[in-house]
Amino acid sequence: MLIYVLRALVKMAVTLLVIVTLVFFATRLSGNPVDFVLGDGISREDRELLIAYYGLDATIGSQYWRYLVSVFSGEFGLSFLERRPVSQIVFERAWPSLKLLLSAISFTLIVSVPLGILAAIYRTSIIGSVVMVIAFLGYAVPAFIIGILLVLIFGYTLNWLPVIGDGSALHFIMPTLAISGMLVAAITRFTRNAMLDVLSQDYMRTARAKGLPEWVVILKHGLRNASITLLSVIGLQIAGLAASGSVVVEAIFAWPGIGDLLVRSAILRDYPVLQFAVLSVAIVVIVINAAVDIAYAYADPRIRLAKG
């Protein structure tokens, strides 16, 4: 168990270092950011001053070192455009993103787990096939198309739902649906497969033989045993899927979250903001993955009780 946890932590540390390094070299290899951001209307002295201020005249090695130090001490510099600390800008947007994600993930679980169970129980009948076809095709629908169609139907045509911002509960409906599309498709499939593995086990037959009602057999004996596999798969997949889904969906609905910030800073080339936002999202995803990995090891007695 200890070795397993250690290995997960080392893997996490390596991944973090790689993404930190990648972000550094990506932003530095593209030339001098000062020239890009300030353009031509700047005097030679001011330019030199700024280059010295940002430390861009040092060798790439010492820049990298200083960057690492600043990353680990929590110093991330100022936004090129807003002249505010980037950490402040990103943290302001963390809560709206988190709210939207929680909403999308809850919706996904509420819809896809029952659908997956249905598809597993009725796998040979028409219900199972219909659910699986929907889940299957749902995986091929880009989130932005769902978003745009929702806006067209419920926003402009029916005029039921607000299109922009995060002001009220109604604002959550369309972005939640748009992010959830692909997640529902993926997790319905996982649930179905996890349930199928469990349904054919001997203890299910025993439970039925004891005369338990069918729903108790399915939920208590089936779902409970499937849930360990299910939770670990969901944990490992959902962070990455949700991160990429929320980027485009937040941009569509002008949701004041990190996804919208990522797209905006990428288009406007506000490197300090982009850099910090990419790092924050990547770190959150990586830490969640490591946590799920360790939690799974803890829940599985074969790994928990193994030597070490």
Binding site: S30, A140, I148, V151, G240, V248, A282, I286
Partner: protein, 297 residues
Amino acid sequence: MTDLTQTSSSPGSAPFHIPVWSDANWIVRIALLVGLVLIFVALAAPLIAPFDPNAQSLISRLRPPVGFERYKDGFLFGTDELGRDILSRCIYGLRLTFALALAGSVIGLLIGGTLGLLAGIAGGVVEDFVMAMVDTQIAIPFTLIALLILAVMGSSLDVMVLVLGVYGWEQYARIVRAEVKKLTQMPFVEAAQAAGATPLRIAFHHILPNVVSPIVVQFTLNFSNIVILESTLSFLGLGVQPPTATLGSMVGIGRDYLPTAPWIVLAPAAVILLLTFAVQILGDWLRDKADVRLRSR
């Protein structure tokens, strides 16, 4: 069933069994037909597009598709905010999306396949290193990497190919490595080694042909993801820049005219869905065909 057992006993012959029309159910047949039509349209774009996709005509701006009021003759799918023909732009957009996705898939396959082959054959430190890179790539959401590259290197056709080329390499690397490790245990590889074949000859002559089938499956499944990624980035305005049309950028720009001229968005969105559905269905079908475990069920 028989074809697969045969291939594993006769290395060197083409192992990928090309499934025929009669094996397929009606959903797969439709997907196959749609796919072929889309490929034909993309290839023949200059011949079948009724107008120049970038030709503007300010007097025929925002005209609706055929069958609606104010429809203008010839512009079957209507026109956009600059009076460009939407059908022609869809056709050219499809062509470009196809080309980008194909280039991206092939590059990803080459990078991942090479690294996987290397890891599987060399083993040891090389393998550990490659697999650590694979794990890292899996752990980082690709959208972040794509945004970073596009912001830093600018949005152009070349950069887009690069971004799409990086996408998915880790899947190929994993699959190829696993297959290679399995195959190197096979008697025919041992026999080749005993006969004095060089590692290079073993890699290209004995192992590579046997990895084709899982790669073809992964390629198809990956293709629809790449189409989605390309459309999403173009939709956000980070992909190929105007006036060049890709399906995603048409949706992205048309979004501003959604309340008054929804057809600008609906036509390219429908083409994207047709493409991803067809590819997804075919990919899944190929996987079922190629997977021995599933077929024996």
